[in-house]
Subunit: 254 residues, 2 copies
């Protein structure tokens, strides 16, 4: 298995983000797990983790200034090694229905966090990812060299959309995650010269606040999802770049 020496995870105070933090900390060769949270002081579960390899960094991906501040801190943490892996996980799911209230602000907020936040964080962290990639050699690509991984969703699939806005009002979330898939595909092509893998994953239907919305209990635990995701990430190489996968690295149609 191939792991990053350093990984930065946004939205890491709960849900899948927190699960991924725990999962990476299980790997002895991982040196730095950097957990991004909007309010580190309130991130109780993160703060309770007693592992010196964990750094908690304040980041609000709606704010370019906050992203820049996080960059400076992470640059100090990883130093000349650069950052091997950026894991864009932070996202929101505000209910929105075709046949419901008309509210541009809700659509805007969802797109701003899920898509624009992911784009700006990715662009901002390119110098640190390039630095890490420059230490790799030859034609090797992978999360141990340099990677951007975006947490997408099954709901991003336009091809497999069968229930529209559905019971939960997924319209805003769906369009944002389809946009994330196109963002990742576009960046993957643009970053070929840097040997940076860019991949999109659906974590599955996971028992988080988001996954359990509408009073249902999701199919799998956070640990099951995070464990499968990290295993699949360890297999990422050049041919996966731009792709959209389930947690077992099975291709999902866009």
């Amino acid at each position: 298995m191939v792991y990053p020496a350093s990984v930065f995870i946004t939205g890491a105070n709960r849900g899948i983000g927190l699960g991924l933090v725990r999962e990476f900390l299980k790997v002895p060769t991982v040196k730095h797990v950097i957990a991004g949270a909007r309010n580190p002081d309130n991130a109780e579960e993160l703060n309770a983790i007693g592992d010196k390899r964990l750094n908690i960094v304040k980041i609000d991906i709606e704010s370019d200034e906050s992203i820049k501040n996080a960059y400076k801190q992470i640059e100090t943490i990883v130093g000349e090694s650069g950052l091997n892996m950026l894991l864009n996980n932070a996202a929101i799911l505000p209910p929105y229905f075709t046949n419901g209230a008309i509210c541009r602000e809700t659509l805007m907020k969802c797109v701003n966090v899920n898509v624009l936040g992911t784009a700006i964080v990715s662009q901002t962290f390119l110098p640190l990812l390039r630095k890490a990639s420059s230490h790799g050699s030859g034609d090797h690509w992978g999360v141990d060299r340099a990677a951007i991984v975006n947490i997408s969703s099954f709901w991003a699939s336009i091809e497999q959309n069968e229930d529209g806005s559905g019971d939960l009002g997924s319209l805003a979330y769906r369009i944002s995650k389809s946009a994330v898939n196109q963002l990742g595909k576009t960046m993957a092509i643009d970053l070929k010269g840097d040997k940076i893998v860019v991949a999109q994953f659906c974590p599955g239907w996971v028992q988080t606040d988001m996954g359990n919305m509408g009073g249902r209990t999701a199919a799998i635990t956070v640990e099951e999802s995070a464990s499968a995701l990290v295993k699949s990430m360890s297999k990422l190489t050049k041919e996966h770049s731009g792709g959209y996968f389930d947690r077992h690295l099975k291709v999902i149609p866009y």
Copy 2:
């Protein structure tokens, strides 16, 4: 061929929008062609068209208020017949590159016009589309009953994205148009009960200000594109709803 008695086209003051206005006016059974423009006073070419079936309506799809005002005017024009066809055409292409300047505002503007504007216009006009659909009978679906057609782009295809941001900086545009495809697919499912077709079209590489960007001359004329589009729209039925097509109604992979 099957045509709408009334059609409302946004961004109709130039380019493909203007071409679609001219094309629909060629059809004798079309009663109302409503051309949306941000600045009707400056829409010289529209104003020069001497056809009583043409109405020019002010609409800025970034403004909910402007959309509501346009709705009121169009309601008066189409009356109890309702609106058969909403053609979301207005869009912008601001250059944006993965490896270029970081600018959330540019991404936001592009998404606001191309995606959120399309969503809000579509939602706002649902009562008029439903009214038109209610006059149809049985299982007939089509632009002569009720339809939302979104002008998408070849660049919306995530599957077929091979050049990333490319020479023109298509990142913002690409993500916005992929989001439009998901918006259309989601709305198509949500509007099944209303028998409203929702379809997305790539107009081709057309000789417009947008198409000729970067000093190149696009492959086809506005008239060639608009003529093929209107022909394909006339063939739309239930099974096309949610789909993404080229101007000849050939499926494009999402």
